[in-house]
Symmetry: D2
Subunit: 270 residues, 4 copies
């Protein structure tokens, strides 16, 4: 995912493209000689894309036109293999900014899941940073590795098939991202791992989890504790009949943010 070598403009053998038919038909597919992709609008010969530029069109055997787009990190997240709920870009985007994640940063992630946040973190810390991601469930580690591999981001992730509650090995990390069911259990460990002033973000589906994790942050050496929810609404823009979409996702989870300080946050005398 670098920029402006030839591989950025031309589709190469073995690369993934986002095959775009329309708003409801988008697929992440691997381009390879002889490979075919079957859709409800006919069969697309993916091999024919090799050597052609990104953004080009290709027709199925039924004469339907598709476009071959270069997958962005957004596409990779939305099209990730996912046995469970993933974190969505609306939440991930805000979290990346709040965590201050950028090139060169060292980040611990607790709860790899299917790796959607991992992809975004890995993409952001390139080329000099690293994401250390903990996950106890072997099958999720495998899925996440596949997703990161498709994204070409394996080099920026250290997978740890281990229980973060047993201890984090990293120290002085810039940021910690948590997405597990009992996040309060790892708050003291995150405190140890974070550099002074470092950031933590915790994703919780329920408000009860939020209350418990905020209490654990407030007891520890954390300041600037805030919780948000982010709602995304699609607008259907049609000439003369523009309106928001009838259905929307009403809830994914709450995002709690805090900053590591060097003393407990409760006021005490100088």
């Amino acid at each position: 995912m670098g920029s402006m070598g030839n591989g950025d403009k031309v589709i190469e053998e073995g690369k993934y493209v986002l095959l775009y038919l329309d708003q409801r038909g988008k697929w992440l597919v691997k381009v390879s000689k002889g490979r075919e992709f079957h859709t409800h609008k006919g069969v697309v010969s993916l091999g024919d894309l090799v050597g052609r530029p990104y953004g080009c069109s290709i027709f199925s055997n039924l004469g339907e036109r598709f476009f071959a787009l270069k997958p962005t990190i957004y596409d990779l997240i939305m099209k990730a293999e996912r046995p469970t709920q993933i974190m969505y870009p609306k939440d991930i985007g805000l979290e990346l900014l709040r965590l201050g994640v950028g090139p060169g940063k060292r980040v611990v992630e607790i709860g790899t899941g299917s790796g959607s946040l991992t992809m975004a973190l890995a993409n952001a810390v390139r080329p000099g940073g690293m994401v250390f991601t903990y996950e106890t469930r072997k099958e999720f580690v495998e899925i996440a590795k596949r997703n990161l591999s498709k994204a070409g981001l394996l080099d920026y992730v250290t997978f740890k098939e281990a229980d973060a509650k047993a201890g984090l090995e990293e120290r002085d990390v810039d940021a910690v991202a948590v997405d597990i069911g009992d996040p309060w259990e790892v708050v003291p460990l995150a405190e140890e791992a974070l550099v002074g002033g470092g950031c933590i973000a915790i994703f919780c589906p329920t408000i009860n989890q939020v209350e418990r994790v905020v209490a654990s942050l407030a007891e520890g050496r954390f300041a600037d504790i805030e919780t948000y929810e982010c709602l995304l609404r699609e607008i259907l823009v049609r000439p003369g009949k523009t309106r928001p979409a009838t259905r929307m996702i009403g809830h994914t989870g709450y995002l709690t943010f805090a900053r590591r300080i060097l003393e407990r946050g409760l006021p005490d005398p100088p």
Copy 2:
């Protein structure tokens, strides 16, 4: 903003810190020997912070405790000098992901404004990428440069005090971000500048702007045109009395996204 040299842990002369008092009292200040910062909770001697670690506390002459945090890209955006409305992290975070912006990318920004999005883009494309940002109003260019300078990101931005409507010089760029009052005017120019499959994002405060810009995208060589609005709600987490904040920002703007294709998007026969 690299990681884990000594400069990442220890506050150095001339650096900015986020001085944190409480949720309503956060300031971006420059640390310098002999410098004082006056607040409603007393005077803080900023020079005393030199050589101390990020996350440490410092007391004002009135005995109030402040914490010295390392500014994240989020802090830099929220504390940017801003004569006008800025783009907010909720919108910026989503836009970065949709644009596929990451290390090494080349991005054109049309409408620098006070540079809040510019900061986020520059932070994301480091170290090998570049943001080319167009702005016609000299006073905004100056403000944006000051904001980028505070953020230490000037090396990743090429400022162009010029009217984008007169033409974009860049070609084969990975992404274009637009935030001007008449964005439809630059859609054909963005089309020329973008590499095949490249992404465009347009921020519009009004729905009428959205309708016009979507129409111009649909007439050009763009696919995957979508518009969203993003609502952020703070949750006040207090033991036994947790509730959303009474007031919230009800609207900043709409985000429209599209992808550059190599042919016009309207169906035509094979």
Copy 3:
């Protein structure tokens, strides 16, 4: 739907009850000797409810328990026969208050549809008021009549199978409620029909309709023109895992309100 005669406590032959199984299983059914109601949880002998009190339980032949509730106006709206989109209680409730509808009021409704708003209006104007409702499509008039009949509210509605655009016969009405595709066409007619200070409410799914109808109101003798959208979110309250529902209705329509004045609203000299 009066109060506290015996018919208010005891289920009588021929009355409707809301048969309640659980949050997903609620049905509006007519109680009658010998009548059976088939559900996925077995068959309920509705006749057995005659003479029993509202709120009582009844078991299906499979041993599942149902409760027999007296239908409220909310239930009647939600369970109305509806070939098209109906107005929802979140919008209706606000509209009733903004229109100042209450006992004794005379209200014109333009666009009966399936009669969901008609029911709420008729319920509110009892016993001395009247709803005059216009609808051009015969099949909708029939459906609305059936819905109003189930609700026992036919006495408070004058159905007019006629095109409101050809003229409204009523004068000095307290309120006008509009829900048709081209509401701006009837604004001048509503102006004629409304008493001084009377209220109008217009429901529009698209923002383009809103812009046109607001323009027509501003040109006429109307003041206090405001537009709102109302979003309803269900909260799933579960011990220890409370959270908003994952899915929600993101849009039904916009509500525009205005007040009839006796002169044009644009400022002119005294």
Copy 4:
């Protein structure tokens, strides 16, 4: 607030009007010979309005035009004297429908507060119904009485300066509306007072209150327990620059609804 006597069209001595200047200038004032009303746009001689029709204009001594509108229940709520937070029409409207409140209904309200919900309930139950409203704080009872008096609705309200927790005197009421800090305390009393199938609505600012009150409902004889929050967003409709308002109320409270049944709701064998 009946309909179409002369008093409905012509402003009479001693009546209240909504004096309308613009979206930010609306006042509920009493019309009386010799009375003046001072605004930032000059002095209005209210006495001059006697005998003129609702909807008419009147000029201040500075030549500014105001309109004299007949107050609706919405205006009366929004302009109520209120020492504390009131319930807003977005919540009240939905609650009236969910409670099934209408002409003739007998309703118990627990927590009169400043009487905003009381006004809406009283308006709705006319002419044959009654609202029994409990409030322990004498000063609130006085304020509520003044608000109800302005609205001309005193005949439909029985004020009870008493602690509802000490017991409710009413039986077989159609609906109970609760707005106090510890609503779970009165759930068993509401259960006793409600007729079979009757409705209860509870307004709670915090989610912790919601959790406790839902638990108490689930333990009692209630079914169909649901919780909602309602968000209202103003749309600023301006030719060519339509957009939602920048600021909005992000939270007022949660609404919990349930229905009185004659047995405990937990499944038990037939």
